[in-house]
C-alpha cells in the first residue's frame, strides 16, 4: 500500500495534469469562458510544478516498467512545466480576439505538456512512443489553431505529415531493436545485444532510425526543412511552445537513451551525430542570414542551437550531461523571452503575426523596456557575456574541448561568428528610428499583463544567471540521472 502511494506521488505531476485536462474539458462543456479555462490551466500547471517538490522525496524510483522518476526527470519536468506556464500566459492575451473557439487551446496545450512529462521520464519504448505522440499530436492542432489564416493551416498540415513520417521511422527503429535484443527497455537493450552479438548491424540501423526520428523533432540538419515554415505559420505562443517544451522533452529523452543504452552508441554512430551537429550549426546559421522574418529567423537559430547542444551528446560523460541541463535551461529562458516579445507585439490576435523585421523598427524608442528585453534575448542567443546564453556556450565549448572534439569546437566558434550577424541586425533594427513601412506595437499596458510580467522576469533571470550562474549550475548538478 505504501508502495502504491509512493508510486502515485512519483507520478503526481502527470496525474495532476491529467486531472486538469478533464476539469478544463468539463468546464468548457458547462460554459465556454476564456478566462476560466486559462485560469484552470494555470492552476493545474502550478499544482503540478509544486508537486515536483513532493516527488523529490521519493526519487529515484522506478514506477512500472515504463517510467523512471529521478532528479533528472524532475529538473526537466520543471523546465517543461515552467515553459508551458509561460506559453499559457502568452496565449491568453494573444487569443483574446481570435474570432473562433478559444478554450480548447488550453486542452491541447495541457495534453502536449503531459506528453512531454511522460517522455522525459520514460525508460521503455512503449512510454517513449506514447509520450512522443502525446506531445506531437496536440501540436498539429495548436500550430493550425488560427486556421482561418492560411499560413497557420499550411504550417499545421506540414508539421502533421512530416511528423507522421518521423513516427514511422521511430516505430521501425524500435521494431528492429526489439528484434535484435528482445527487450523494449533501454537497459535491457544492452544485455540483449550482448547475448546476440551477430545482430550488430541491425542494432545500428535501428538506433540510426530512431536518431532520424528524434532529429526530425529536434529539427537537426538534414531533417530541418519544416522548421522555419512551421515557426512562421504557427501562432506566436505555439511557436514558443514548439521551440521550448517539445525540444526540451525530446532532448532529455535522447540524452537518457544514450546514457542508459550507451553501447548502442558506437563510434560510427557518434561520428555521424557529430556530423549532424556540425551541419546543423553551419546550415542553421547560414540560412538564417538572409531571413527577413523574425519567426523564421528564430527557427533557423534554433536549428543552430540544437546543433551546438548535440556536441554535448557526442562528447558524453558527466560534463556532457551537465552541459545539456545548463544549456537547455538557458536556451528555454531565452527562446521563451524572444518569442514572448514577438507574441506581445502581435497581441491581441489580428491576422498574421508581426514577423517582418520592419515591424520592429524603432521599437526601443516606443517601448524601451520591451525592446531592452528583446535585446537581452538576442545577446543571450548570440552568447555574449552577462547573459545566460554565454553560460550555455561556455559549457558546450568546454565539453568539446574536454573530449578533444576540436572540429566541433571550431564549428561552434564559426557558427557563433556567423550567427552574430543576424542577431545583431535584429537587435539594431529596434534602435533605428527611420519611419518603417508599418509599425506594430505591444498594447500600452503590456508591462502589467501576465505575459509582459513573465517576459520581464525571464529577462531578469537571463541577466542574473549570466552574471551569477552558480545557483543554476548547482541545481543542474544536483539533478543526476538514475542508472535504472
Amino acid at each position: 500500500m505504501t508502495q502504491f502511494f509512493t508510486h502515485v506521488l512519483a507520478l503526481a505531476p502527470l496525474l495532476i495534469l491529467c486531472a486538469t485536462i478533464v476539469t478544463v474539458m468539463l468546464a468548457i462543456a458547462v460554459r465556454r469562458h476564456h478566462f476560466t479555462a486559462a485560469t484552470l490551466t494555470v492552476i493545474g500547471l502550478n499544482a503540478a510544478l509544486l508537486s515536483l517538490i513532493g516527488v523529490l522525496q521519493v526519487t529515484p524510483i522506478q514506477v512500472t516498467p515504463l517510467f523512471i522518476i529521478d532528479d533528472f526527470s524532475v529538473l526537466f519536468g520543471a523546465i517543461v512545466l515552467v515553459a508551458s506556464l509561460a506559453c499559457t500566459t502568452l496565449a491568453h492575451a494573444y487569443l483574446e480576439t481570435l474570432p473562433d473557439r478559444r478554450e480548447e487551446f488550453y486542452l491541447l496545450l495541457l495534453c502536449s505538456a503531459g506528453g512531454a512529462l511522460a517522455l522525459i521520464a520514460s525508460r521503455h519504448f512503449a512510454s517513449l512512443f506514447i509520450g512522443l505522440e502525446l506531445l506531437s499530436v496536440p501540436l498539429y492542432g495548436m500550430v493550425a489553431y488560427a486556421y482561418r489564416d492560411r499560413i497557420s493551416l499550411e504550417a499545421g498540415l506540414k508539421y502533421m505529415v512530416l511528423s507522421g513520417a518521423a513516427s514511422a521511422f521511430l516505430l521501425f527503429g524500435m521494431a528492429l531493436l526489439y528484434a535484435a535484443s528482445g527487450s523494449l527497455e533501454y537497459v535491457g537493450l544492452v544485455d540483449g545485444m550482448a547475448n546476440g552479438g551477430a545482430h550488430q548491424s541491425w542494432v545500428l540501423i535501428g538506433v540510426g532510425m530512431m536518431v532520424v526520428a528524434l532529429a526530425f523533432k529536434l529539427s537537426l540538419v538534414p531533417f530541418h526543412v519544416w522548421t522555419p515554415d512551421v515557426y512562421e505559420g504557427a501562432p506566436g505562443p505555439v511557436s514558443a511552445f514548439l521551440a521550448t517544451v517539445s525540444k526540451v522533452a525530446v532532448f532529455a529523452l535522447l540524452l537518457r537513451f544514450f546514457t542508459l543504452a550507451a553501447p548502442a552508441a558506437n563510434d560510427w554512430l557518434l561520428t555521424l551525430m557529430g556530423v549532424i551537429a556540425f551541419a546543423s550549426m553551419m546550415i542553421g546559421n547560414l540560412l538564417a542570414l538572409r531571413q527577413r522574418n523574425v519567426k523564421r529567423l528564430l527557427g533557423y537559430s534554433s536549428i543552430a542551437h540544437l546543433g551546438y547542444l548535440m556536441t554535448a551528446i557526442v562528447a558524453g560523460g558527466d560534463l556532457g550531461t551537465e552541459a545539456v541541463g545548463v544549456y537547455l535551461a538557458t536556451y528555454v529562458a531565452t527562446t521563451l523571452g524572444a518569442f514572448g516579445v514577438v507574441t506581445l507585439v502581435s497581441s491581441p490576435y489580428s491576422g498574421t503575426d508581426a514577423g517582418a523585421l520592419h515591424h520592429y523598427r524603432g521599437l526601443f524608442w516606443r517601448r524601451p523596456y520591451l525592446a531592452a528585453v528583446f535585446t537581452v534575448m538576442m545577446l543571450s542567443l548570440a552568447g555574449i557575456p552577462m547573459t545566460a546564453g554565454f553560460l550555455g556556450k561556455f559549457y558546450v565549448i568546454a565539453v568539446s574541448v574536454e573530449s578533444g572534439l576540436w572540429w566541433l569546437a571550431g564549428g561552434i566558434v564559426a557558427g557563433s561568428a556567423i550567427g552574430l550577424y543576424y542577431y545583431l541586425r535584429m537587435m539594431v533594427i529596434m534602435f533605428l528610428d527611420e519611419p518603417g513601412e508599418s509599425r506594430r506595437d505591444a498594447v500600452s499596458g503590456w508591462g502589467q499583463q501576465s505575459g509582459g510580467i513573465m517576459v520581464l522576469l525571464l529577462a531578469a533571470a537571463v541577466a542574473f544567471f549570466g552574471i551569477y550562474p552558480q545557483p543554476l549550475i548547482a541545481l543542474v548538478n544536483a539533478a543526476g540521472m538514475a542508472s535504472g
Binding site: M386, E402, A409, L420, Y421, L424
Partner: protein, 508 residues
Amino acid sequence: MILCWLLFVPFIGGLLCWQLESRHAPSQVPRWIALLTMLIVVGLALWLWMTGDYSLAGTVGDSPSWVREFRLGWIERFGISFHLAIDGLSLIMIMLTGFLGVLAVVCSWREITNRIGFFHLNLLWIIGGVIGVFLAIDLFLFFFFWEMMLVPMYFLIALWGHSGSKGNTRIGAAMKFFIYTQASGLLMLVSILGLVFAHYSQTGVFTFDYVVLRDTPLTGAISYVLMLGFFIAFAVKLPVVPLHGWLPDAHAQAPTAGSVDLAGILLKTAAYGMLRFAIPLFPEASAQFAPVAMALGLVGIYYGALLAFSQTDVKRLIACSSISHMGFVLIGIYSGTLLALQGVIVQMVAHAFSAAGLFIISGQIYERIHTRNMSEMGGLFGRMGALPGFALVFVMASLGMPGTGNFIGEFLILFGAFESVPWVVVLASGGLILAAIYSLVLMHRVYWGTPKSEASLGGLDPREYSMMLLLLVLTLWVGLFPNTVLDISQTAMTEVTDWFAVSPLPTR
C-alpha cells in the same frame, strides 16, 4: 575594495545617465553625470598611484607583485573567482582609460544631440568593460569583460556613427567590428578552456586563476596552438595586418568619442593582453613564435603606412596610421628586452594621446565643414583659430618628433630591440620615414594649399581649447619626463622579461 569601485563606478554612472534622461528629456544632465563619473574614475586611479608603491622588485616564480588585490568566489564549479588585481602595467592603462574617458565625454558635448542618455550609457559601459579587462586576473573574468565591452561599442558605432558612402554604412562597420572581435574572442575562449583542462588533467583542480595557470607545464605543440588562440584574439584587436580589416571602417564611421575610445583604449587592451597573458602563459611558445610576430609587425608598419598614404578620409588616414604604430608595439613586445618593453608602454600612452588628439580635431573640423574628405579641405590654416596649430603638434607627435612621447616610445622600442633582432630594427626604422611622409601629406592636404574660401570657420571655444591643451601638455610631458611612466611600469615589465627569459630566445 577600491578596485571594485573603480570597476563599478562607470557601470552605475551609465545606468544613471540613461534613467535620468528619460525623466527630464532633453537635458544636459546625462553629460554632467558622465563627466562626474569619469572624473571619479580618474580620481580613484590617481589616488591608487599616489598611495601605492609600484617599484617593488618582482621575481619569477613568486606570486607577482600586485599592489592591491581583490578576490571573491564566483563560479565554484569551475574554480572561477572574481579576482581583480593591479600592478604598474594595469595602473598606467587605467589612468589612460580614465583620461581618455573624460575626453570622450567632453568631445561629444556638442556632437551628440539625440538620445544623450543612452549614448552615455554605452560610452561609460565601454570604459567599465575596459577597466575590467585591465583589472581581471581570472581568465574567465578577463574574457567576460573582453567580450562584454564589444556590445556598447557596437551600439556606439551603429547608432551614432556617420554613414559613409553607399555600401559603407555605419551598421556595416559596426557589424564587421563586432564579428571580427567576437569570433577571435571565441578562439581565445577555446584556448583558455584548453589550458584549463590541461591544468585539470595534470592536477585535478579546476581553476581559471592566472597565477596558477601560469605554472602549468605544457608540451610543444599544444602550447603553441593554445598560444595562437590567444595571439589571434589580440592580433585582431591590435590590429596585426592580415586581421586589420575592421579597423578603418570602424574608425571612419564611429562618432568622435567612439574613435577616441577605439584608438586610445581598445587597441591597447590587445597589447596589454599580450603582455599580461599571451607571453607569461606561454613563454616558450611565444619565444618560438616571436620571429613570426615581429615579421607581422614589420608588415604592419609598412602596410599601415602605405594604406594611410592612399586615404582621402581624414579619420581613415589616422586609423591606418594606428596600424603602422601598432606594428612597432608588436615588435617591441616580442623582442623581449626590458628596454623595448618599456618603450612599448610609452608608445602606447603617447599614441593614445596623439591619436585621440587627431581624432578630436577631425571631429571638430567635421562639425565646422561637414566633411571628412581631404580633397574638399585645404587651406584651413588661419581659418580656424588655434586648431591647425594644435593639429600640427599632434601630427608631429604622430611622426615621432623628439620632445613628444611618441619619439621616446619608438626610440626605446628600436633601441631595446636592436640587441636581440638588429635586422628587424633596421627594417622597422624605414617605417619612420613613411610616417613622416603620410603625416606631412595629412598636414598639407588639410591645412595648406589654396583655401576654398576666406571666411573664418570659427575658432575654438573654451571647451575645445582646454581639451586640446590638456592633450598637448600630456604629450609633451610624456616626451620630456618619460620616467613618470617608466617608473610605474618598471616592475611589471621586468616580470614579463623574466618570463620571456625562462626560455632563451632563438633569435638571440
